[in-house]
């Protein structure tokens, strides 16, 4: 029977169960250690208590050993030097739960209390002075009420409540022997109840505001208990070495005799007892558990549990039990689910959940969520309770602690894998679950200095992949913090957001990598950001050398700093863009510079072009002076053309030779220029030059271009037969064109003419069709 080892305390029951058996057994005698445990299944810190051993005192630095609740060592640290507050020594410390988080209060040797409400926000508050306090208070504690933490200080038999506003209030309590000094006090976990221990061994239990007294219990012990704490809100536990006394609010008590020195850990719903051989948990039996397992309980939950057991045994009584609770079956199921949560033994959990599931079968519209959630929670709780992990959380503690905190704690204890599996099991979104843990893991990984950079980076990359919510730059900055620059760079490679990479790289003075990353990102802003940083930090020459081989950076910089860098372009970047069109006219030095640059860059072609341009400019200047007409800014072709039009043939000839204008070009040029000038005689003469470079059609074209059809006609007879048709078409003489095409017996040409025919040219169209028939006939 589950209720067999329940211990009655008044009309409620308490139970004590073993959580772990400890293996440290022989090595550690708790009596010789100072034990500092952490609540919520937290670890234990042990420090050898040397105070009774004067031989050992001196310069030996004490070692603090940390163990999990299951007694597995998790580390040790050596206290390097015990800090002393500037001019005051700390006498005593209380850690308390304020409305903001975990708080710390210290009592200094001049008997003042200082308090920090939240360890994340270190604002120290000094509490008011207790009047007439000239020795250490006999007992003190911190009470959080109405959103404010106050210290309750006992000076012999007087009680004072002091706050950080400088106020103190003397409190009076309803004690049977008021003159006795208060030796110890305990404030319950929920800050609602207060227990006092007096000189003569009387335990006073009342409400935290001291207004209500529940009972007074005489322990008859004049010795102050080694530990005096609450076990949940329902009982006070006092410990004298091996004797443990549990006192209920109605003067009921239970006493235990432990077989070794133990240490107590106050929890929200009970007390953890750390002994030599095992860790036990002492708590009040939760109400639902009591309802189900109490002997002869008629609660629906109890009936359902019974029914389920009968069902297992394949007995028809199961049905009877179900029938009796038919109307309250939903309550029964809920009770079973709740009770399962409070169980520590997986077998019991299973039995209760089975019962709940059995009961659920008879319900049609029962919300399955509580059942499902409970199964999930229990799985997780059982996992973390595993001695290897050693976090003995109860369900109600977890509820208070929340899952997120539990995961954080697992992460801090470096149980990354378990934490991730829990997140995945709970289907938490990746960004707040798994990837956050991965990030922690990576940061931890980075701290392992014995591993090779590449391996670490690879391992991290391998695990994290592209998980959303992971910022490689954060990990990298962690790596940077611990001086692993190379690793940081490697990690940053994986960071997809260049905007995060770049500042860090700059911080590491890896300007070149930063610049490359910025360029790769395509974010111009970022590139400018790096460039400007570089420009400010590097000597100018070095800066230019750095960017000259990076076209993107260079062009961006030039865009920005255009005018100022013009000269630089010449000198430093031969073969690059030459110079802006605007300066062309100004003068020669710039051209000579350009030419030199090109020579250096072995771009002979361009150098030659520059030389030609210099020559041309000289000519043009001369021409302007001699002929009083503008020639500047014209190209070679245009210059010659203009010269011919202006009737300066000699000059034109000279330039033609100087610049080696090809004959063909010269012909085109001359024909056009003559036609433009209307020098038809000259044109005619030119057409009769020996060794003509162009066919007569060029002349026809030129004449037509300048609107002289009559002149054009003159050249038609001399046009070669195959070009004639085209010329005639251009002239608009379709009839002749058709005839010419027919003469050449060229059907394609005939078609060409035909296509040009419009409605008005019916006659010609017919004529062509005739020709075409004739051609076709002739071929046949």
């Amino acid at each position: 029977m589950a209720s067999a080892n329940w211990l009655p305390l008044g009309h409620v029951y308490y139970e004590k169960m073993e959580l772990y058996s400890l293996e440290w057994g022989d090595q550690i005698d708790l009596a010789k250690f100072i034990v500092a445990p952490a609540p919520y299944g937290g670890p234990l810190a042990l420090m050898r208590d040397d105070s009774n051993n004067p031989n050992l005192s001196g310069n030996v630095k004490p070692i603090i050993h940390a163990f999990t609740s299951s007694g597995k060592p998790i580390g040790q640290l050596r206290v390097c030097s015990l800090f002393e507050a500037k001019d005051t020594k700390v006498l005593d410390v209380r850690i308390f739960r304020s409305y903001k988080g975990t708080g710390i209060a210290v009592l200094t040797c001049n008997y003042r209390i200082f308090m920090v409400n939240c360890i994340d926000d270190l604002r120290v508050r000094r509490l008011a002075e207790v009047p007439g306090l000239n020795s250490a208070p006999t007992a003190w504690g911190i009470i959080t009420m109405d959103g404010q933490s106050q210290a309750l200080v006992a000076k012999q038999n007087e009680l004072y409540l002091v706050d950080h506003g400088g106020q103190y209030q003397q409190q009076s309590i309803d004690v049977s022997v008021p003159a006795e000094a208060i030796m110890d006090m305990a404030i319950s976990f929920n800050n609602k109840y207060l227990a006092l221990f007096t000189e003569s061994g009387i335990v006073w239990i009342g409400s935290a505001d001291l207004k209500k007294k529940y009972c007074e219990f005489n322990t008859k012990s004049h010795q102050r208990p080694s530990q005096f704490i609450w076990s949940g809100p329902g009982a006070v536990v006092a410990l004298w070495d091996k004797l443990m006394l549990v006192i209920g609010p109605d003067k009921d008590y239970i006493s235990f005799q432990n077989d070794s020195t133990v240490s107590l850990v106050e929890e929200e719903d009970g007390v953890r007892i750390v002994g030599r051989d095992n860790v036990e948990f002492f708590r009040k039996v939760p109400l639902v558990t009591e309802q189900i397992f109490k002997i002869a309980s008629m609660e629906p939950g109890a009936m359902l549990f019974e029914a389920s057991r009968e069902f297992e045994r394949e007995s028809q009584r199961a049905d009877e039990y179900i029938r009796t609770i038919k109307d309250s079956l939903d309550i029964a199921v809920s009770q079973c689910i709740q009770a399962a949560g409070h169980e520590v033994e997986p077998s019991k959990q299973r039995a209760l959940l089975k019962a709940a599931s059995f009961g659920k079968c008879f319900l049609t519209d029962y919300n399955p969520e509580p059942f499902f959630n409970m199964c999930q929670m229990l799985r997780i709780l059982n996992q973390v309770r595993n001695p290897n992990i050693g976090i003995p959380l109860t369900y109600s503690q977890l509820e208070h602690l929340t899952m997120a905190v539990l995961i954080d704690r697992l992460v801090l204890r470096k149980y990354f894998y378990l934490a991730i599996r829990i997140c995945q099991y709970l289907k938490l979104p990746e960004s707040e679950g798994a990837s956050r843990i991965l990030a922690h893991w990576a940061c931890y990984k980075v701290l392992q200095k014995n591993e090779d950079d590449e391996q670490v980076a690879y391992a991290i990359r391998d695990k994290m992949g592209d998980t959303p919510g992971v910022s490689y730059s954060d990990i990298a900055s962690k790596a940077l913090e611990c001086g692993r620059t190379d690793l940081a760079i490697r990690l940053l490679d994986y960071e997809p957001k260049a905007a995060r990479q770049v500042p860090l790289l700059l911080q590491m003075k890896k300007e070149h990598i930063a610049l490359n990353k910025a360029i790769d990102s395509g974010d111009t802003d970022l590139i400018y950001f790096v460039l400007m940083r570089l420009k400010d930090t590097m000597p100018q020459g070095e800066f230019f050398m750095a960017i000259r081989n990076i076209p993107v950076a260079l062009s961006l910089f030039l865009q920005n700093r255009g005018p100022y860098l013009k000269t630089l372009k010449f000198r430093k970047f031969p073969g690059g863009p030459i110079f802006p069109g605007k300066v062309l006219n100004k003068g020669h030095p710039i051209f000579n510079n350009a030419k030199e640059s090109y020579m250096k860059a072995r771009n002979e072609f361009a150098a030659k072009q520059v030389e030609d341009e210099i020559k041309l400019l000289k000519y043009q200047r001369r021409l302007e002076e001699e002929l009083r007409r503008p020639y500047m800014d014209l190209s070679v072709h245009q210059t010659v053309h203009k010269l011919i039009v202006d009737n300066s043939h000699k000059m034109a000839d000279q330039i033609r030779k100087e610049f080696k204008i090809p004959d063909k070009r010269y012909w085109w040029l001359r024909i056009d220029a003559l036609a433009e000038a209307g020098e038809w005689m000259e044109l005619d003469k030119f057409s009769k030059t020996k060794k003509p470079q162009l066919g007569m059609e060029a002349f026809v074209e030129a004449c037509l271009k300048h609107g002289n059809k009559r002149e054009a006609m003159k050249y038609i007879p001399r046009v070669l037969p195959d070009k004639k048709v085209q010329c005639l078409i251009q002239m608009g003489d379709l009839k002749q064109a058709a005839e010419a095409a027919f003469e050449n017996r060229n059907e394609d040409d005939l078609n060409k003419v035909l296509r040009k025919c419009t409605l008005a040219d019916r006659a010609i169209e017919d004529q062509i069709k005739g020709y075409k028939q004739q051609l076709a006939g002739g071929r046949r």
Binding site: P496, T524, D525, V552, K582, E613, D633, V636
Partner: protein
């Protein structure tokens, strides 16, 4: 889901609405009456977004000035608050800084707010700081990126993208591109299948992924209104924009220049003193019918349309009842007159185009172009180009042919390159050397790399070897083997008179067929900057088999984003492809352009 084909285009005017709200917010945040100083670059887009000055007045704008880039000393007289709506450029910042500091020194007290479009740049801030005016002004940004010009055309209208990205390697605008895709996805849902072609495409996708970043909700791909996204780097296909356009819309752009979906017709077409702005979009039914046609096919249509209109207006002579007449005047007359006016404009434009094409050696030009695309007779073509340079033909057409030669042959053989360059400089002036440099940097025009082994044999090899364009052309069938009927085309190559199918569109077609690049390795290895596909939702029966286990299919709507610019011919080809294969294509681009406007951004302007 509706079957492919009869689905409507996702409503892209929502983009417009968003932009309008952004402007509204930005203006209203700066409380009180204020003057607005506008960047001339932003005037047309702003006009399209807001639909006129009334909108601005409603939002507290008092006077509107144009920011004059030339005149720095201009005095703006207005109220004590001023908003600058500008592109984040250095010279503009300098002008603004001049304004502010001179007004400050005159003791005029004003509040300034500088709103940068599409985003605020660190660089600009830095300049304002250097000029010592940062303290006097608020900075803000408004993300106006894509402008819906039509149901299926979105454009950023930033022609400077081409220069800044390809020539100055400035990646700022690439971010804007990604942002714009992000905005679209915000409206239509995340696009499941993404195909990137070329460097810019890939970079843009990387940025986009960063923006999408850590999302909490898994996107619902089958419900996304757009099923496929192409991010095409213009550098993948420089050839197509260099070809002379022969669709009606393309010709309009080549001849008159379409800006922000509007074309301005001059006096010789409209017979009016003022130039007339005509909005070109699918709302105009007649225009919708002719815009994608091959030009030879337009005139006849217009003729028949004219007859229709005539008969329609003749109808009123038959009216006997007053009511009929009233109805006609009330309903049809306005529309009729509008159609008539439009018709006249289009006919006028056609005539102009024909006139221009008849002049000069248009035929030879086209022949050369086609022969370059086909890869035949390189020698003759080079001769033609040389002759064309010698004849002092227009700089643009010469450059276009040279670039085409270079692109189709992996560069121009070294000796020819030098001679052409010399000739070109002699014709058009020395400063064109810079143009050559620029074109080389962009990758449009370069000299063939000579293998160091032997220079003699290299010359021969250069003429015979296979260029990457040749390979792509062969594998993608860019030159149709059959004659294409230009009146009722069966192949998208009709947009270039059946001589060439635009490479970019052909790639889109092939990738869509496979939903990925598998099996295209021989082609993709020739694409500069490589390719990348991210396919999350397959149409059943496409691509790799056995991967169709996801539910749903992508919407048959394809967003093709041309990063660096896009021509009207390509749009026409995609529309054709859409009709043929049951897709809806939406074209987004940094700007709509043609060969001339593309080159115009990178050539050195002659000082004349």
């Amino acid at each position: 889901m509706a079957a492919a084909g009869n689905e409507k285009f996702p409503d892209m005017t929502r983009l417009n609405k968003k932009s309008r709200q952004d402007i509204e917010r930005c203006l209203n945040e700066f409380q009180g009456r204020k003057d607005l100083v506008l960047d001339p670059d932003l005037m047309k887009p702003l006009d399209r977004i807001t639909g006129g000055a009334a909108f601005l007045k409603d939002n507290g704008v008092d006077k509107i000035f144009k920011l004059d880039r030339a005149d720095k000393q201009i005095k703006l007289v207005g109220c004590d608050r001023r908003v600058y709506l500008v592109r984040p450029k250095i010279n503009i910042m300098k002008i603004i800084a001049d304004h502010i500091s001179s007004e400050q020194s005159r003791g005029e007290n004003r509040k300034y707010r500088i709103v940068m479009v599409p985003r605020r740049l660190f660089l600009c801030e830095m300049i304002l700081e250097q000029e010592g005016v940062l303290g006097h002004c608020d900075l803000d940004e408004v993300d106006l990126n894509l402008l819906p010009l039509d149901t299926d055309i979105l454009s950023m209208e930033t022609p400077e993208f081409f220069k800044s990205f390809y020539l100055d390697s400035d990646l700022t605008l690439l971010q804007t591109v990604s942002k714009s895709v992000h905005t679209i996805q915000g409206i239509t849902g995340e696009i499941p299948n993404v195909y990137c072609l070329g460097r810019a495409g890939k970079m843009c996708y990387e940025l986009l992924k960063q923006m999408t970043g850590e999302r909490l909700i898994q996107p619902d791909y089958p419900r996304s209104e757009i099923g496929h996204l192409f991010l095409i780097d213009r550098g993948v296909d420089f050839v197509t924009p260099l070809c002379s356009q022969v669709t009606y819309e393309g010709l309009l752009d080549d001849m008159f220049g379409i800006q922000c979906g509007c074309v301005e017709f001059g006096k010789d077409i409209t017979q009016k003193d003022q130039p007339v702005k005509v909005r070109l979009n699918s709302e105009d039914e007649m225009y919708e019918a002719i815009r994608c046609r091959h030009f030879t096919n337009v005139f006849d249509f217009l003729k028949s349309k004219a007859q229709d209109l005539q008969s329609l207006s003749d109808k009123r002579k038959e009216f006997t009842k007053v009511k009929d007449m009233k109805d006609f005047v009330a309903n049809d007359l306005r529309k009729l007159n509008q159609s008539k006016a439009n018709l006249t404009y289009h006919i006028g434009a056609c005539e102009q185009i024909i006139q221009k094409k008849n002049k000069g050696d248009f035929v030879e030009y086209m022949q050369t172009e086609h022969s370059l695309l086909e890869g035949t007779a390189l020698r003759e073509n080079l001769n033609y180009i040389e002759e064309s340079i010698n004849k002092q033909n227009s700089l643009m057409s010469n450059l276009k042919l040279m670039c085409l030669t270079s692109l189709t042959n992996d560069g121009i053989p070294a000796r020819d390159y030098k001679s052409l360059k010399t000739q070109f400089v002699q014709s058009h002036g020395f400063e064109q050397l810079i143009t050559f440099h620029n074109l080389k940097k962009v990758g449009l025009l370069r000299e063939q790399e000579v293998s160091s082994q032997s220079r003699v044999s290299a010359g021969v090899a250069a003429l015979t070897r296979n260029s990457s364009f040749k390979n792509i052309r062969k594998r993608l069938n860019l030159i149709p083997s059959v004659d294409v009927d230009l009146r009722s085309p069966c192949d998208m190559s009709y947009v270039f008179s059946g001589a060439y199918a635009p490479l970019s569109c052909k790639l889109v077609e092939q990738v869509l067929q496979r939903e990925g690049f598998s099996g295209m390795e021989e082609i993709t290895k020739h694409i500069p900057g490589s390719v990348h596909a991210d396919v999350k939702l397959r149409t059943p029966g496409k691509g790799i088999k056995g991967m169709t286990n996801q539910p749903g299919r992508p919407a048959p709507v394809v967003l093709v984003y041309f990063i660096g610019g896009c021509t009207y011919s390509e749009i026409a080809a995609l529309r054709f492809l859409g009709k043929q294969q049951g897709y809806k294509f939406i074209v987004a681009t940094t700007s709509l352009f043609n060969g001339n406007s593309m080159l115009n951004t990178v050539i050195e302007k002659s000082p004349l």
